[in-house]
């Protein structure tokens, strides 16, 4: 039940990232996705992995809260396609995670596929650097979470090794917002 709730929160957070253009909306989205992802990862990979994702996501959210277009700007005019995208992606990913695949880590699959799919959709549809860097931070967290897919048993060495992707992803997420980006250099 906890995992299902966390997966819903993560989907909600990704939907906020897709629907918002302002820094407060984007930061809220990062917080929700990170919280959902960290709860699910905690169940399978333990506190260090979940903590790393949490810290990375929190740092990304803090940075986003101070840089980018001001305000919330959730669902500006013309957002209907984005709403449809969020709902359709949620339904498709739900089917893939719980019906097309059979192992017990369905909630993790749901969150990862949601984060990967909607992050890419955001990158492909936006020109605003703060939005792009938000999507990249979340994409990094989603990639790290794939470590938990299909893992049945962990030896001590395997657990130690598998925590590095979480730490690396947290670093990428935390630092992505600091990248100086030239918005346009078209002659």
């Amino acid at each position: 039940m906890l995992e299902a709730g966390a997966a819903f929160v993560a989907w909600l957070g990704m939907s906020v990232v897709v629907l918002a253009d302002g820094r407060r909306g984007l930061a809220l989205g990062i917080v929700l996705v990170t919280a959902g992802l960290a709860v699910i990862v905690f169940q399978g990979a333990g506190p260090i992995a979940a903590g790393a994702l949490g810290v990375g996501g929190a740092a990304a959210a803090l940075r986003r809260l101070t840089h980018g277009p001001s305000g919330w700007r959730v669902m500006p005019p013309g957002s209907t396609p984005r709403v449809v995208l969020c709902v359709a992606a949620g339904i498709l990913v739900l089917w893939i995670s719980f019906s097309a695949t059979t192992a017990g880590d369905g909630a993790l699959r749901f969150v990862i596929l949601t984060v990967l799919g909607l992050s890419v959709a955001r990158v492909l549809s936006s020109d605003e650097p703060s939005t792009l860097l938000t999507a990249i931070a979340l994409l990094a967290l989603g990639i790290a979470a794939t470590v938990g897919i299909g893992s049945v048993a962990h030896g001590l060495g395997a657990v130690t090794q598998s925590e590095w992707p979480y730490i690396a992803a947290a670093l990428v997420a935390a630092l992505a917002g600091w990248l100086p980006v030239r918005t346009a250099n078209v002659a």
Partner: protein
């Protein structure tokens, strides 16, 4: 770290050293040293990290940094293809690891090939290209610097992830995408108006051959792919860098050196490209002889494009002439005796 990927990292290091040594202006050299150094560090990270997730994260970082460097295209435009590549590869990884029907494995195979094509910048995901961009900021960096290591890591990594059925689908998809790129790149390098764009399409055509080699499940295919990658990184890329000055001056010459360069670019004997083509045809014939026939016909497409690209080199003088001579000598050596290179890569 697989020996094959270690060898390709060495190729890219040599290519960077060549570009630094033979870059015409000191200002370009400094910029190239910084950008190339970051790129080389990124490719080393992709090849050496212990898990595929970490390779994807390294690729993501490299893609973001490359999109942020100064170029004619906007950050958003340049970011799309690398991010799409990373996401497709991660999606494929999830599908490959998830338990379910065999169809999931095949989707994973298609996702891996699609991610690889998007990462390198091949059809159907050509990166945005502006002929005025410097080499380090253009898609050429993905074709000839980051792409080779990425391809070797993805292809080597799939052996542990995909089952036999999905592995077959992976190979078949690679061959299919490779043939499309061979045909598209070969025709476009011949027929496009802009010569810099023609160079870009010639990289695409070469990559088509490399993908076909990776897709063949016989040893000759992998050997051919490695030699094609060698000729991309240590023949086509240095010659492209050497031709940039003549391209800017729009100087076309028809001297013997241009004909020799055209022969090297076309993969004729005794250059490394010829050995790659022989191995590829032998591997394709072992697998399915009509594929060998199609490849043999497609290889003829290199001739007109390569003659054009050879002319675009101009008449190299001084340091540039020395660089071109070194590249040609290295390619002749590998073409005549490729065995040490293949053995070092574990082939």
């Amino acid at each position: 770290m697989w020996p094959e990927s270690a060898e390709v990292v060495v190729f890219t290091a040599f290519a960077l050293a060549f570009a630094l040594t033979f870059a015409p202006a000191p200002t370009q050299r400094r910029s190239l040293m910084f950008r190339g150094g970051v790129g080389l560090a990124g490719t080393i990270a992709i090849a050496t990290v212990p898990t595929f997730e970490l390779s994807l994260l390294a690729l993501l970082v490299l893609g973001v940094l490359h999109a942020a460097v100064n170029g004619k295209q906007s950050f958003a435009t340049r970011l799309r293809a690398p991010v799409l590549a990373v996401a497709l590869l991660a999606l494929a990884l999830v599908l490959a690891r998830a338990q379910g029907s065999d169809v999931l494995g095949r989707f994973a195979a298609v996702g891996l090939v699609a991610g690889l094509a998007a990462g390198i910048g091949l059809l159907p995901y050509l990166h945005p290209f502006d002929p005025e961009d410097p080499v380090s900021a253009s898609p050429i960096a993905w074709f000839a610097f980051i792409g080779p290591v990425l391809a070797v890591v993805v292809v080597a990594g799939t052996h542990g992830v995909l089952g036999p059925d999905a592995g077959g689908a992976f190979g078949a998809t690679l061959v299919g995408v490779g043939l499309v790129n061979v045909a598209w790149g070969g025709v476009a390098a011949w027929s496009t108006e802009n010569t810099i764009a023609a160079w870009r399409y010639s990289f695409i055509a070469d990559w088509g051959l490399a993908l076909c080699g990776f897709g063949l499940t016989v040893a000759d295919g992998r050997r051919a792919a490695l030699l094609v990658i060698f000729s991309i990184v240590l023949c086509r890329l240095p010659l492209y860098v050497a031709s940039r000055q003549a391209l800017r001056e729009k100087a076309l010459t028809e001297r013997p050196v241009n004909l020799v360069v055209a022969a090297a670019l076309a993969g004729s004997a005794p250059f490394a490209g010829f050995a790659a083509r022989v191995l590829l045809l032998r591997g394709a014939t072992q697998m399915f002889w009509p594929l060998g026939l199609v490849l043999a016909i497609a290889m003829l497409l290199w001739l007109p494009g390569s003659l054009r690209l050879g002319r675009s080199l101009g008449l190299p003088r001084g340091r540039r002439a020395l660089g071109v001579a070194l590249v040609l000598a290295l390619n002749v050596a590998v073409g005549l005796y490729p065995l040490p290179l293949l053995q070092a890569a574990g082939q």
